[in-house]
Amino acid sequence: MSVLNPRRYLCHRATTPIRLDGRLDDPAWRDAPWTEDFVDIEGDAKPLPRHRTRAKMLWDDDFFYIGAELEEPNVWATLTEHDSIIFLDNDFEVFLDPDSDNHLYYELEVNALNTTWDLLLNRPYKDGGTPISHWEMKGVRTAVFVDGTLNNPLDTDRGWSVEIAIPWSAIMESKERPDALGRPPTPWKPDEGTTWRVNFSRVEWDVEVEGVRIRKVPNRPEHNWVWSPQEVIDMHRPEHWGYVQFTHAEPGQGAFVDDPSRPARAALHEAYYALHEHRRIHGAWPDSLREVLPNPGLPMRLHTTPSLFEVHCDCEYEDGSVHRWAIRQDALVWEVPL
């Protein structure tokens, strides 16, 4: 049986304005619950991160707000140019897949200098995706507060915090489509219960002090600490990202409604990885799913062409209705109308 058990977060409305200054001291933040403390990207297989990271989320008619707190004894950053490869510094990263289909998702990285990199992926790298780096998250506002001193190794810092406000109008590619004439879609915002796939990642490099400078220890890979564990060192597997559900309920009220398609998604992703592994070894898809997955979690049906496949999985929801979900060779997930 496959493991696909992403984190869940109920995102409440911000009832009072949030001042974007990097400090999470606005009254609105007080009532928003913290996420779980971040864990290693590989999950339980690895030790817990040595510094705590956690996040909060809120929303209103105009913005999706993210606040993050990163414990850090040595706050440093070097990159100042927008759309640099920010994770070459320590950073905080946001991943958003609004329609939970593994395609057309958003990435935003910010360092302690408040320098950002925003990009759109048409599909994951493993599926031949293109990083659309010249895409801009139009209207996004970010702010960083350093609780200590930036780039000063002579003292011990407490950490840094980040505030991000993403306008709904910046997220249009994976939702409303333009009309046939190519006119842009109108802005939108979530309804009660709208659920996005979201993950946060913190990249942390081992550093050493050289004189009055902080520098990376050469030849050490980075640490990746995340909210919802990815199981492997790859953020670009949206199926592992957490569920963020938007609600009008007051903080402390309301209940997260679980994704009824989760068992089907788990089975389909297990099939997807098994089929790709078979092709990697044998150069072709197998004739049947049984060859690569003798004991699937749910019954599934495989259809192939030389370069494409789709797998269908019927899944019974709690209300007794049956839904058919599907995955393709490029990881796109969708519901097949019955």
Partner: protein, 350 residues
Amino acid sequence: MIATLALAWLGTAASEPREYLCFRTDTAPTIDGNLSDAAWSRAPWSEEFVDIEGDRRPKPRFRTRVKMLWDDRCLYIGADLEEPHVWATLTRRDSVIFEDNDFEVFLDPDGDNHRYYELELNANNTLWDLLLVKPYRDGGPAVFHWDFRRIRTAVHVDGTLNDPADTDRGWTLEIAIPWNDLYEHQRQLPQDDANPPTPWRPQEGATWRVNFSRVEWDATVRNGRYAKVPGRPEHNWVWSPQGVIDMHRPEKWGYVQFTSKSPVEATFVPDPSKQARQALMRFYELSHEFRKRHGRWPRSAREAGLRDARGLRVFITPSLFEAQLETRYPDGSTHIWAVTQDSRLFEVLR
């Protein structure tokens, strides 16, 4: 039904994509909208633009033509639009520019019908730039928040802008697109975030699919100002005719081939996969029509109604298809080309 199909055939088979040999220039043109730079004198004019539907429609009432050049840094485009009444209203970047009269550029550097660029420019030199992940017919989306980062554009009005009291000669424009603005088509695409692509430029003989379109509205004068005639659709005049009123069929765009050779030495080398591509795209169109009627994909070229594509192999699943066609190049080598249900064209590597 047969009549409809026959018409569809005419529409698809009537015209061949245009071809243009794009020469390298030692001196970059000054981007001021004026095509008087010495560099441009070396570049041939394209064919005059025709109606987007091709020969079925009358010739445009005003002449439009373009030139292209390239160097290590940029692709240069120059256009000349005859126009007795030059007008423009939009001034904000990323407005829907074709609501004004405009000039439009479409670029598909790898000719796969996916991930292509569009830019539109009006006589105010206001720009709309976007990237299409796939054509609209295949679900898109259009990425409106995509930007050419360091593009330079300029417009020169030969006459007076927004002044209906006189008759203008037209407007000319120049566009310089740095190769690195086409980040998504760097030859060495990154495998992950950590390996960004290196700067690039086309190699000798590289061939892109490119088209240009000019949107022209019927206009009148009202209260001393230009105004669109209400209720009239726009005219679409293009370099390489699309056959239908839809620019978002990259398979119809022209071929632009980059060369460092001199105009005397260089010749355009036709795309050896052209016939295979055209047969596959006809199958693509017929398959989608078939699915609309029958609720499923055709299982063969014959079932799709494609009769002149011997050797076309069809593979289907409930929502996907892949058609493959073996083709022989002039050098005698054989290649297999394929199209999928989302109109992506690719060579099957053996």
